[in-house]
């Protein structure tokens, strides 16, 4: 689909409100990315959090061996990453790309990640469970992500004894994952609902659809830039296909709510929205330093403006790239000294990084 022409923010007003393109939203406006995750354990081995070094080493060895044996049919191009051999910056980069978790990179020896070339598939070894299979795809692709994870699970299950009970399903370290071991999460951006203070009631409705909500970097993190993770709240009593169906229903609901909110904002608060977008543009233009939180807030507003038809040039691609590049992971991983130094470095280079990327997008659009 061809993108609609972008409107310039009127500098010297013609006295008319900007002609917003529309108040509509599509699933891809709302759902930035989809992740499917399967939790599995090797039968006969103690779960990672209670395991000795020797137990962990043994599990790592047999899972890596199995993964390499099925590499041909299950994965296209997997790289084995020994987490304990990485420096803090490399660990932070893995967390930023959502290929693994903060807990995993902090856990110590015998932790591995198998990562594919596209950074879309990762298999984590000795995370909370012995095996975590994770697939991340852009936009709303819950079924595709789930099927891809399932295929890898099938291949590994041929090679490994898996902890499973016919009544309880897959046995996991946390009872929260027991059963399917499946979590399907969508990353959603809901700026209009946030502006209207409608998120609390929206989450209540999402909860009633059996969905749970978290912030950008997972449990216990700030809800930065109106970006949220929505995932299935339970892992028993449903089939995998039903889980995908439920998350799809939540996405559809959120999309309709966000579209309604945008329409209302356009109809009743157009001038205010224009100010908001313009202020974010000025803030970025003048900034010498930007924290992760300020950065994601500005990007959120500029993407909102873009979706509403302003020429902020923060398209989906630019938004996803810059949010992924925020490097919030460093703040979660590094030691105190490194963290202070790195946070300062990142904060001072961030404004130029944003401005340059947006300028490049503007040139591309102008050339096209």
């Amino acid at each position: 689909m061809k993108a609609p022409a972008r409107l310039a923010i009127p500098g010297s007003g013609t006295g008319k409100s900007p002609s917003w393109i529309s108040g509509s939203a599509s699933l891809s406006d709302v759902v930035l990315s989809t992740r499917a995750r399967l939790a599995r354990n090797v039968s006969g081995a103690i779960f990672p959090h209670m395991a000795s070094d020797a137990d962990l080493a043994r599990v790592a060895k047999i899972v890596l061996t199995a993964a390499h044996r099925v590499q041909e049919k299950a994965f296209r191009s997997m790289h084995t990453v020994d987490i304990s051999a990485l420096n803090d910056q490399e660990k932070a980069a893995l967390v930023d790309s959502h290929l693994t978790s903060v807990a995993h990179v902090r856990a110590g020896k015998h932790r591995f990640a198998l990562v594919d070339d596209n950074q879309s598939v990762s298999v984590l070894i000795n995370e909370e469970d012995h095996i975590r299979i994770q697939v991340i795809l852009p936009g709303m692709q819950a079924d595709a992500a789930r099927r891809k994870a399932d295929a890898i699970d099938d291949a590994l299950s041929q090679e490994l004894p898996i902890a499973y009970d016919k009544h309880l399903g897959y046995l996991t370290a946390s009872l929260a994952n027991c059963g399917m071991g499946l979590r399907v999460s969508i990353m959603v951006h809901l700026p209009a609902l946030a502006l209207l203070h409608r998120l609390p009631s929206t989450w209540q409705a999402a909860n009633s659809l059996d969905a749970a909500v978290r912030g950008l970097y997972g449990e216990g993190t700030e809800m930065a830039g109106n970006i949220y993770q929505v995932s299935n709240a339970v892992s028993m009593g449903w089939t995998e296909a039903q889980t995908v169906g439920k998350i799809t229903a939540v996405a559809t609901y959120l999309e309709a709510e966000e579209a309604g909110a945008r329409e209302l904002l356009i109809r009743t608060r157009a001038a205010e929205m224009e100010d908001l977008v313009q202020n974010a543009q000025h803030q970025l233009r003048d900034a010498e330093r930007l924290s992760v939180e300020e950065g994601v807030r500005i990007l959120s507003t500029l993407r909102f403006g873009y979706l509403m038809g302003y020429d902020t040039h923060v398209s989906d691609t630019v938004f996803s790239e810059l949010v992924a590049g925020l490097r919030g992971g460093t703040q979660l991983i590094a030691s105190d000294d490194d963290r202070a130094r790195d946070v300062f470095y990142q904060e001072t280079r961030r404004p130029a990084l944003f401005r340059n990327r947006i300028r490049a997008e503007r040139s591309t659009v102008a050339a096209g």
């Binding site: 046995l171 009872l175 059963g179 089939t239």
Partner: protein
Amino acid sequence: MIGENDQLGLFEGRDGEDLMPSPACPTCHTRLDRIYADGFLGCETCYEVFADVVQQALISMHGTSRHTGKTL
């Protein structure tokens, strides 16, 4: 009544057990009070030796303790 550190808030009828040492899994040594506290088990044997507690916890968390998904 249930202690305040019972984060799951799932369990009842534990009165009078406070002075007894919490039973432990023979394989991984996870103690029952850990499972009450955060819902974490240490190994497959935990699922067997604490089967009743596991079942109760699953019902409170998921509304059921019966897996209906993928089979191995």
